[in-house]
Symmetry: C2
C-alpha cells in the first residue's frame, strides 16, 4: 500500500468536497448535496482515456476505495452520534401527543405508499418494495433543524412539533430499517423473525432510553455527591476527572458494533449511544469536539454516497427518470399528508398554515433516506442486493430532491406566518 | 471487507490505548509509552492457540492492519502538524545564538557517536549506521515542553533555551532524516544526490519559513485592510469568512504529500505546514480543534509503533539487550555532552546547574526518534530494509528509555534550582 497516494486521494476528496459544499451553500442548498454531486462525478467522469476514479485509486476493489469506505462509515457513525447528542429523552416526552402522531402518521403513509408503488411497478422483488418504503419513511432532523435555527424560530409551536416529531420519526425509522434489513439478511419473510428483530430493536431503544433517562443521571448525581462529600472532609481533595470526549468516542464505536452484532445497523447504535450523553453534551463540550472530528470524516460519507450512483443506468434506461419523478412526488405528498393528518388528529383546531409548515418541515429525507438505501445495497438476497443499483439511484435522487425542495418552501411558509428573515448560516462556510 | 469488524478493532485498540496511557501517566510516565507497550503486546502476545493479532485482524497483510497503518500515518501527520502549530518563526529567531548552538552540537555529537557505534558493531550495512545516527539526533519538543509547562517554569532562561533548541533541533533533524532517507532510497551514496536532497530539504524549509514569516502575515494584513475598507464604505458589509480549520487540514494533507513527493518524509511536510499557521493558531483555535482530531488518531500511531517491535528477536539473540543498553547510555551521554557544550560555547559564564538542566532537557527522543526508525524500516535497500528489525527494536527501546529517564531527572534539577513543585498535568486524563 502506497500511503502517500492514499493521503493525496484523501486530500483531493476533502478539498473538493468542502469547496463544492461551500459553493452550493451560497445558493441556499444544503452543503451535503454538493458533496454527493462530487461523489457522482468522481465515480462516473471519464474524459477520453482519463478515468478520474482510476487516477485516484477509487474504483471498486482499489485500496483507496477500501480506505474511503472505512472513513465514510466512521463519518456516518459520528454523524448519527451527533444527532443522538442533540436528542434528549426529556424533549421527546415533553412535546407529547402531537409530535408522536405527526411522526407516526409520517411513517405509516410514506411506507405504505412507497411499498405499494414499487410493488405496482412489478419488478417482482419483495425487498425492493420494503426498502423503498423504509427509505421514504426517513426524516432528516439535521436539515430541518438547520432551517428553523437559521430563521431564529426554534421556540414557536410548529418548530417544537417538527423537531420532536423528526426525532421520534428517526427512532421509528430505525426500527423499520432494522426490521426490513433483518428480513433481507435472513432471506426469509418469517413472521417469527420479524417479531424477533422488532423486539431486539425495540428492546435496544427502550434500554437506551432507560439508561439515558434514569441510570446515567443517577450515576452522574452519585459521582457529584461522592466528590462533594470528599471535598467537605478534605478541601484539598482532587476529584478524579474523566475525559468525556474519549469516553464518548469509545461508546460511539462500541454501540455501533453492538447494534450491528444484534442484527441492527451501526448507525442505530451510534445514534442511541449519542442519546446517552445528550443531557450533558453541552457541559462536556461534546458537540463542539465531535464537530471537529466529523468536520474531517463526514464529507467522505456523502462523497461515498454519490460514488455509488451509477449514471449509466439512466442512460441505458431513460424511463427510470419518470419512475424517479413519480417517487419524488410521492415522497413529498405522502410525508405532507401523513404529517398534516397526524397533527390534525392530535389538535383538531390547528390552523391550516401550521399544518402546511409541519407537512413541509418533515419532507427532507437528507442523509437518513440515503443511509437506508446504502445499507440495502450491501445486503445480498437471492436475486442480487436488496436494493438494486436502479433503486439506489432513484432513492438518492429522491433524497436530494426533497432536501433541496423543502427548505425554501418551509422558509417562505414561516416568513408568511411569522414575518422573519432567512439568514444563511455561518456553519456552511469553507 | 467486514466494516463492523474494523469498527470493533478500532474500538478495542482505542479504548485499551487510552486506558494504558492513563495508567502509566498515573506513575508520571508519558502516556505514549503506555500506548507503545500496548502495541508490543498486541503484536507479540500468543496464549496457547489464541493469537491476539489474528483475532483482531491485525497481522501483516490483514485488512485491519492496513486500516490501522493509514490511521497511524494520519495520526503522526496530524501530530507533527500540531508541533508545527506551536513553532513560531519569531521564537526561533529571538532565542538566538545559545539555542542554535545547543541544537547544533546536540545534533552533531549524537549523530557522529551513533554512526560510529553501529559501524564499530560491524554488521556491514552503511544505512544502519546512518539511521542510528539520525534517530539519536531527535529531540521530542512535546515531552520536554510538557515537563516544563507542568512545573510552571516556561519563562526561565534554561527553559527558553531548551524549547528554542528543541525546535531548531527538530528542523535540523528533519534535514538529517531527509538526507539519510534520500540516500537510502536512491540506493547510492552519491555525493551529487546528497547535495540534491540537502538542497531540496533546505529549500523546502527556507521557503516555508519565508512564507510563514513574511507572506502569510502580509496576506492576512491585506485581507484585514480590505475588509476594513469595505466596512467603512458600507457598514452592513459582511466579510467572507473562511473556515480556517478546514484550510489547515487541507494544507496539512497537501504538504505531507508534497514533502513525500519531493523525496522528504510526510511528517516534514505536515510539520512545516503547521508552522504556516503558528502565528494565528491561537486566534483561529486551531490547536484546540486539531487536539480533538488527534485525540482520535494519535493513539493509533503509537500502538502501530509498538506493533512493529518483534520481541522474538531479543529471545533469539539475548546479546541485543547489551547493545540496547549501550545505545541508551550513549543516547543520554551524547545529547547531554553535545548540548552542554553548545551552551558553554554560546555563554562561557553559564552556571553548571543551568548546563545540567539544558543537557537533561534535550535528552528525550520521544516519538521523533521512533518516526525516524519507522521510516527506515519502510525503505528497501540491497540487503533488506534500511533499518533492520533488530535495529528498529533497539531504537524504540532507546526512545522509550530516554523518554522515561529524562523527565524525573529534569524535574529534580529544576526543583533544586527554582524550588518549585511538579504538578501532574490535567491533559493526561482518560
Amino acid at each position: 500500500m502506497e500511503i502517500a497516494q492514499i493521503i493525496l486521494m484523501l486530500a483531493i476528496v476533502f478539498i473538493l468536497s468542502k469547496t463544492l459544499s461551500r459553493v452550493v451553500a451560497k445558493f441556499g442548498v444544503p452543503g451535503l448535496i454538493g458533496e454527493i454531486i462530487l461523489g457522482v462525478v468522481l465515480a462516473n467522469l471519464v474524459i477520453g482515456d482519463f478515468n478520474i476514479a482510476e487516477a485516484l485509486n477509487l474504483r471498486d476493489g482499489d485500496e483507496g476505495h477500501d480506505v474511503l469506505e472505512v472513513f465514510s462509515e466512521l463519518g456516518v457513525v459520528f454523524l448519527l452520534f451527533m444527532v443522538g447528542l442533540e436528542t434528549r429523552v426529556h424533549d421527546l416526552t415533553s412535546v407529547g401527543k402531537a409530535a408522536f402522531l405527526v411522526a407516526f402518521m409520517g411513517v405509516i403513509v410514506p411506507f405504505v405508499v412507497g411499498f405499494a408503488y414499487v410493488t405496482f411497478l412489478g419488478d417482482g422483488e419483495f425487498y425492493h418494495s420494503m426498502f423503498m418504503g423504509a427509505a421514504m419513511v426517513a426524516t432528516s432532523v439535521g436539515i430541518t433543524a438547520r432551517v428553523i435555527k437559521d430563521m431564529g424560530l426554534m421556540d414557536v409551536k410548529e418548530s417544537r412539533i417538527i423537531i420532536g416529531a423528526a426525532v421520534i420519526d428517526d427512532i421509528l425509522g430505525m426500527i423499520v430499517l432494522a426490521i426490513v434489513s433483518g428480513m433481507a439478511k435472513t432471506g426469509e419473510i418469517d413472521f417469527v423473525d420479524v417479531i424477533k428483530v422488532t423486539l431486539i430493536a425495540v428492546a435496544f431503544v427502550l434500554i437506551v432510553l432507560f439508561l439515558a433517562g434514569k441510570i446515567v443521571p443517577a450515576i452522574h448525581q452519585k459521582w457529584k455527591d461522592y466528590n462533594a462529600a470528599k471535598i467537605e472532609q478534605d478541601p484539598n481533595f482532587l476529584p478524579y476527572r474523566f475525559n468525556m470526549f474519549i469516553i464518548a468516542i469509545a461508546v460511539c464505536l462500541v454501540f455501533a458494533y453492538l447494534a450491528e452484532f444484534a442484527g441492527l445497523a451501526t448507525i442505530i447504535g451510534s445514534f442511541l449511544g449519542g442519546m446517552l450523553f445528550a443531557e450533558y453534551a453541552w457541559d462536556w463540550k461534546l458537540e463542539e469536539k465531535f464537530e471537529n472530528l466529523s468536520t474531517f470524516f463526514v464529507s467522505f460519507f456523502f462523497v461515498y454516497v454519490g460514488m455509488n450512483v451509477e449514471l449509466e443506468i439512466f442512460f441505458d434506461k431513460p424511463s427510470l427518470f419518470i419512475t424517479a419523478a413519480v417517487v419524488i412526488i410521492l415522497a413529498c405528498l405522502t410525508k405532507y399528508i401523513g404529517c398534516a393528518l397526524g397533527a390534525k388528529i392530535a389538535e383538531p383546531h390547528i390552523e391550516g398554515s401550521s399544518l402546511n409548515i409541519i407537512g413541509c418541515g418533515m419532507m427532507p429525507r437528507g442523509e437518513v433516506g440515503i443511509i437506508v438505501a446504502l445499507i440495502g445495497t450491501k445486503i445480498m438476497v437471492d436475486e442480487g442486493s436488496a436494493v438494486s443499483p436502479e433503486m439506489y439511484a432513484i432513492i438518492v435522487l429522491m433524497c436530494i430532491a426533497t432536501t433541496i425542495i423543502a427548505p425554501p418552501i418551509l422558509s417562505i411558509l414561516y416568513r408568511k406566518k411569522y414575518k422573519t428573515d432567512y439568514v444563511v448560516s455561518d456553519q456552511d462556510k469553507l
